[in-house]
Amino acid sequence: MDASIEDGLLPDSLRYFGAMAASISHEIANTLAIINENAGLLSDIALASGKGMPVDPQRVAAVAAKIQGQVLRTDGIVKRMNTFAHRVDEPCASVDLGETVDLVVALSSRIAAMRSVTLEHEKAGPIPLTTSPFLLCSLVYKCLDRAMTAVGKGGKVVLAAKTGDGVVHLVLTGTPEQAHLIGSPFGSDAEKALLGALGASVDSGARTCEILVSVPRDARCAVQRS
């Protein structure tokens, strides 16, 4: 199929969902591999014990603890994946911006690590708003992706959620400060549609190292399902 035809058929939101699913499955493959090798190590120790080699109980306990640690890590990944997947359930719901940023940052942590970018979320108190939960995640990630590209390898992106007058703000600040690309406009049709659906605006031109996203606290949720 012609790439341009596929581009037209695949919405941005589906690409975002796909990128997250790929990253999550990679993380799970890694934890499964660690569990597999440590379980195999226990098996090797048991085999050696059967041949008369002394077994150190502390060594066995340490390997078992590593397996438990990876099971907990996997549980966290699966819970995040579940939370993310359920973000498409409702086209309009009450969500917390801070929790959304937390989720997007956690889901993007491996992608950020691959790009050698550090992410930091400056947490505030509860910031509730009524909007499309999935599209809000999508917008936060789009801004984050842009910021990570702008700061480049070794850079840092700080995300801070704030309340304003009837709106909520998300500020992404990138360092190094010469990362001027962070301020490029959200001009594609898909980006405009996303902003329109959320009733959001992005101010990325005034300050060269910041993206300021504003979303109405009680948006009308332009996207409704029957």
Binding site: H26, A29, A33, I34, N36, N38, L41, K66, A113, S116
Partner: protein, 122 residues
């Protein structure tokens, strides 16, 4: 046989290297591409087992750099991704094996021996 194992997951590297050592291999471990290059400059390795996706130097980029230091080194890629484009890139680069995580240790040992045998031309 001396092998180089590179993966950014610390606990994978420690457990897998121990299992390979139990099976008679001498294993040098690295969690970054730069550490791997440093080790390759100090010791000869018949086979390198590399993660495909790593922060900094990717597996494929690392392979190119390692091959310049040790032209006889053979490569096995261990990945959690299974991405078609990565597979094709490895195939084009002449990588001996492309294995998905998690891997069975006997299968990995077999691939290591196959790779080493290829290097010797047998």
């Amino acid at each position: 046989m001396r092998i180089l194992l590179v993966d950014d997951e610390h606990e994978l590297v420690t457990a897998l290297s121990e299992r390979l050592e139990i099976r008679g291999f001498v294993v040098d471990c690295a969690e970054t591409g730069n550490d791997a290059l440093d080790m390759a400059s100090k010791n000869e390795h018949e086979v390198a087992i590399l993660d495909v996706k790593m922060p900094g130097l990717s597996g494929l980029m690392l392979m190119e750099r390692l091959a310049k230091i040790q032209p006889g080194m053979r490569f096995i890629f261990l990945t959690g991704h299974g991405c078609e484009s990565d597979y094709r890139a490895c195939e084009q680069a002449g990588v001996c094996s492309y294995i998905m995580k998690p891997v069975k240790i006997d299968s990995l040992v077999e691939r290591i021996r196959e790779a080493a045998a290829r290097e010797k031309g047998s």
